[in-house]
């Protein structure tokens, strides 16, 4: 600290102005013993802060401003209008719904060119769950579900490493399930989550991503006989050719819904619990066997209902839910212990 002397030029309770011997006019905090006008005081001049400290102060302010600016720009750029996910739906037609951060529809792309275009629904700005309901409603009005064994296939595809939780897979599945029950729609439904790579692979083969996932799963299980199965654009036809069912291929992601009787189609054991895949075979072969003998059970709706997602994949006798040819007998893969495609 450098010392200097100064004459008191003005003083108040808070501050005192001094004229120093080095010709400076400086303001100091008034000492406890209030100085008199004209009194000479010896004071310690505050040493100027090193440049480093001053630089840190300015750098901090600059960094905060820069951060605030960056956040503002980021918010503008990645606003709610940025696509974060796509939902591909396959029923009689195939369409892609591009979804924003708020899980609302940004755009509808009809992937089935030349066919009836369900995308003429005004879906922009509608949340994905409602949009899917509206699409199903429209298909229902067009009689799509009047035929037996219809499929509602849905895939969620996060885009460009965006957060995957924008669309809740379980919520979407339950939403579709609830809506189908409310509208008395019978169909086999699947909601899965996949990725951009799978979509690209599907596009390269000219398939929808849902169709491709089924095709791949059939291939993985060695069920496909015809290597040219990829040419089949009809998913039902492909499943029939492979002699399998959607639910046996995707036990966790799919379920059969047949609301006429309002009953679950899954089997329950004597304790009232749903049966699991392996134990179904080993402990209740009578029931499972009887199911296998009813390949078109769902279509006949002898004991129709719907299957809860959590239990369906475990009690996954393929023939118990959908009326497609049963998988090869004795094939361990048909027990429902399939690896998920995620």
């Amino acid at each position: 600290m450098k010392k200097t002397t100064g004459i008191v030029m003005k003083t108040s309770k808070k501050a005192t102005i001094l004229y120093t011997e080095s010709g400076d006019y400086i303001e100091i905090k008034t000492p406890k013993a209030t100085p008199a006008l004209g009194q000479v005081l010896e004071i310690e001049l505050p040493t100027p802060k090193p440049l480093r400290h001053r630089f840190i102060k300015f750098a901090s302010v600059a960094a905060i401003l820069l951060l605030a600016l960056s956040l503002s720009v980021f918010n503008l750029v990645s606003g709610p209008t940025t696509a974060v996910a796509a939902v591909v739906m396959d029923m009689d037609t195939s369409m892609e719904l591009v979804i924003d951060r708020d899980a609302k529809v940004l755009k509808v792309i009809d992937l089935t060119q030349g066919s009836g275009n369900p995308s003429n629904l005004q879906l922009q700005g509608v949340d994905i769950y409602t949009a899917v309901d509206l699409i199903i409603d429209k298909a229902n009005r067009q009689g799509v579900f009047n035929q037996a064994n219809r499929l509602i296939l849905t895939s969620i595809i996060p885009m460009d490493n965006q957060p995957v939780d924008v669309i809740d897979q379980t919520k979407l599945r339950k939403s579709i399930e609830r809506h189908m029950l409310e509208e008395n729609i019978s169909a086999n439904m699947m909601v899965s989550q996949t990725d951009e790579n799978t979509r690209k692979a599907a596009q390269s083969l000219g398939m929808s991503v849902n169709h491709y996932q089924i095709y791949k799963r059939i291939q993985e299980k060695g069920l496909i006989i015809n290597a040219d199965g990829s040419n089949s654009k009809d998913t039902l036809h492909m499943l029939a050719e492979a002699n399998t069912t959607l639910i046996s291929l995707f036990p966790k992601e799919s379920m059969a819904i047949s609301p006429q009787n309002g009953m679950h189609e899954e089997k329950s054991n004597s304790m009232g619990n749903s049966m699991t895949g392996e134990s179904t075979h080993s402990t209740d072969s009578t029931e499972s066997g009887s199911n296998q003998n009813l390949p078109n059970k769902a279509a006949e709706s002898t004991s129709s209902g719907y299957t809860m997602p959590g239990s369906q994949h475990e009690s996954s006798e393929p023939s118990e839910s959908i009326p497609i040819p049963i998988p090869m007998q004795g094939n361990p893969d048909s027990s429902g212990e399939h690896q998920m495609m995620r």
């Binding site: 004459i7 102005i17 011997e21 080095s22 400076d24 303001e27 006008l37 004209g38 009194q39 000479v40």
Partner: protein, 145 residues
């Protein structure tokens, strides 16, 4: 034999000390009184130029070189009575003349206008002689080298 030395030397030393101390205190009080009077007048005169002490706190040069430059300008300014007369009459600095006289840029003179007037008053007005004496002018002006 009679000694010529004081009988109570310690007492005399104390007397001298008290005397010196009192004298010092007296001088300080006198100086303070003088300063107080000067400061009052100085503040009043500054106000005539529209300058407050708070303004001078704000505009006092922060760098030694700048301060030295302004002091040198003020010194040269005070050597020219016609320029001083202009200042006291109009309360304005003859910036153009000062620029020519000192070679210091008009912008610098304008920026240091209040400080320059305050300094010129200290240097030129005999009424503020005590402030002039208090200021270590040489060391300020030498800063510039």
């Amino acid at each position: 034999m009679l000694s010529l030395t004081p009988l109570e030397p310690d007492k005399d030393d104390l007397y001298d000390y008290e005397s010196a101390s009192s004298f010092k205190q007296y001088k300080e009080e006198e100086q303070q009184s003088d300063f107080a009077e000067t400061v009052k007048n100085y503040t009043t005169v500054l106000a005539e130029y529209g300058i407050l002490l708070e303004d001078l706190v704000e505009v006092s040069p922060k760098h030694r070189d700048s301060k030295a430059t302004l002091w040198r300008v003020a010194q040269e300014f005070c050597e020219h009575s016609n320029l001083l007369k202009y200042l006291t009459k109009t309360k304005l600095l003859p910036l153009k003349e000062l620029e020519l006289l000192t070679g210091v840029k008009r912008k610098v003179l304008e920026r240091g206008r209040k400080y320059l007037i305050a300094t010129a008053l200290i240097l030129s007005d005999p009424e503020f002689e005590s402030l002039k004496s208090f200021t270590q002018i040489d060391s300020i002006v030498k800063e510039r080298g």
